[in-house]
């Protein structure tokens, strides 16, 4: 990025050539995604939306199947289906359904339905694991644009609504009394979640998106004293996990998506014990 800031032809050329390297593209994809998953993941943790994230992410597989069957871009298909799922869940939550069971039913049904639907699409069956666990090493330039575009959109949304989102997260009553509509803030998070799911599918796959949201945020919790510090910490830890996971994948030939989550889990274990040390 900083290479393109100095506007000399040479550095731009070098920057463009660097994008030809699949590892650089993979690293940039991971860092870009982390920009969005850090703050959004923090909200997912604060508002106990983990299962919500799972349901939305699992629905992405159904989106893949529909996109492949109708020859639409996969990113578009997952975005639409993730949005529909997120809106459904948010609607049910507003009507006061027993969320734990409802989300469990929706999350797993969406995944199963998606897997069944994918089996009808010729050719898709063979790259099933790419949709489930991501294929970050195959990220193209166009994918990179989609990932960064989506991430910047999500970060912009969250920064724009930050104070209201945070107030509504702390207490819906306080939000109402300050003229903030908690429903609207919930809608913002629902939208952001759907975008992140669509964007993250290529990087870590439908099964691990929720992990990338939750684990870095949980890892940052023990070290942070303010919500902003936690969100920034989650982004840094997410980016670090992506790079470390890629390195692990490169050296040990492990699957990249799961390696990223393993790296994030390792950071979580480290900060959790560090946090306990600091408190004692």
């Amino acid at each position: 990025m900083c290479m393109t800031i100095r506007m000399t032809t040479g550095t731009i050329m070098r920057g463009m050539t660097m994008l030809d390297d699949f590892l650089v593209r993979a690293g940039l994809a991971g860092v870009g995604l982390s920009l969005a998953t850090g703050p959004l993941g923090s909200f997912v943790v604060w508002r106990r939306m983990a299962y919500f994230g799972d349901a939305t992410a699992h629905a992405a597989i159904l989106g893949v199947a529909l996109a492949l069957a109708t020859d639409l871009p996969v990113g578009f298909g997952t975005l639409v289906v993730a949005l529909a799922m997120a809106a459904t869940v948010a609607g049910l939550a507003a009507r006061g359904w027993a969320m734990d069971t409802t989300l469990g039913v929706l999350a797993h049904s969406a995944l199963a339905l998606g897997l069944v639907a994918v089996s009808f699409v010729p050719g898709a069956r063979t790259d099933l694991s790419a949709w489930l666990f991501g294929d970050i090493l195959a990220v193209s330039r166009a994918d990179l644009g989609f990932i960064w575009g989506g991430a910047v959109l999500v970060v912009g949304l969250l920064v724009w609504r930050w104070q209201g989102l945070l107030t509504a997260t702390l207490s819906e009553e306080l939000a109402y009394a300050s003229g903030i509509k908690p429903d609207r803030e919930r809608l913002i998070l629902t939208l952001a979640l759907a975008v992140v799911v669509a964007v993250a599918l290529k990087v870590v796959g439908a099964l691990l998106i929720a992990a990338l949201l939750i684990i870095p945020a949980a890892a940052a919790r023990g070290l942070a004293r303010t919500p902003e510090a936690m969100a920034a910490g989650a982004t840094a830890i997410g980016a670090l996990a992506c790079l470390a996971g890629l390195a692990l994948s490169l050296w040990q030939d492990t699957p990249a998506g799961p390696s990223i989550i393993v790296a994030a889990a390792a950071v979580f274990a480290a900060t959790a014990s560090l946090g306990r040390l600091i408190r004692n």
Partner: protein
């Protein structure tokens, strides 16, 4: 009488509001109004709809009848009954005071001093005691320079001296800023002393007036028993009359 200065100039009012929650009529045709500078206390047993009434005034619960009228551009400070912060959310007192409107360090410090709690700005919200948390919530509510302060059982979980101190603080704040106060309580004695006007609620307004008038009203005695303290009276309550016979006390029998 204190609090009479603003009479007639209603800041926020409920006009015959009814609320239905989960198939039950929680509020039936409740009217009340709060004028500038007065302290109004809503008293009632558990399940009498006190908190629901506040939530209706704040626009949190939908009304099935009636309406809530606010003066244009009303600045409202709200102190909730409790604030359960998820342990996963780290937040200092200082940061909390800047929600949802960012305030300067000087403003935050001044609000904490006014609430009688200097030097906690750097503490985690989760590390505060019950009494400290109530004062921080009050400090935050004061930062919006409110015309009306709404408090929902603000002394729940405080001991008696803490309770008395908190109500003294509310009175001090009213004197210093002229803010009107609407609060909910079920502890009779402390509240009676600190209120200009008391409204007895049991789904509907049973009686209303100065603490002296209300404490001798038959409806109040039926609601709380004679001389008994809160907890006991709550379970003795069998009073559920209708006001259709025309002895409506709302708002005209005090001063």
């Amino acid at each position: 009488m204190p609090g009479v200065q603003g009479r007639g100039m209603s800041l926020i009012a409920a006009e015959g509001i009814s609320v239905r929650l989960g198939g039950a009529d929680v509020l039936r045709g409740v009217s009340l109004s709060v004028a500038a500078g007065e302290i109004v206390t809503i008293l009632g047993p558990n399940g009498s709809g006190k908190s629901t009434l506040l939530r209706a005034l704040l626009g949190i619960v939908p009304l099935t009848a009636g309406r809530v009228v606010r003066t244009a551009g009303l600045r409202l400070g709200y102190v909730p009954q409790r604030l359960a912060i998820d342990p996963s959310l780290p937040i200092t007192v200082r940061r909390f005071l800047s929600l949802p409107v960012a305030v300067t360090d000087a403003q935050a410090a001044a609000a904490l001093v006014r609430a009688g709690l200097p030097e906690v700005a750097g503490r985690q919200m989760a590390a505060l005691s019950g009494g400290q948390l109530q004062r921080v919530l009050l400090a935050r509510a004061l930062l919006s320079d409110p015309q009306v302060l709404i408090l929902d059982e603000p002394t729940q979980g405080l001991d008696q001296s803490g309770e008395a101190a908190f109500y003294r603080l509310i009175e001090d704040v009213r004197h210093a800023t002229g803010v009107a106060v609407l609060m909910v309580s079920h502890d009779l004695h402390v509240v009676m002393a600190a209120s200009d006007r008391v409204i007895c609620l049991n789904g509907h307004v049973c009686c209303e007036g100065t603490p002296q008038v209300v404490s001798s009203a038959p409806e109040y005695r039926a609601l709380f028993g004679l001389g008994t303290l809160g907890a006991l009276a709550l379970y003795q309550h069998v009073h559920d009359h209708s006001h259709d016979d025309g002895h409506d006390h709302a708002g005209h029998d005090h001063a």
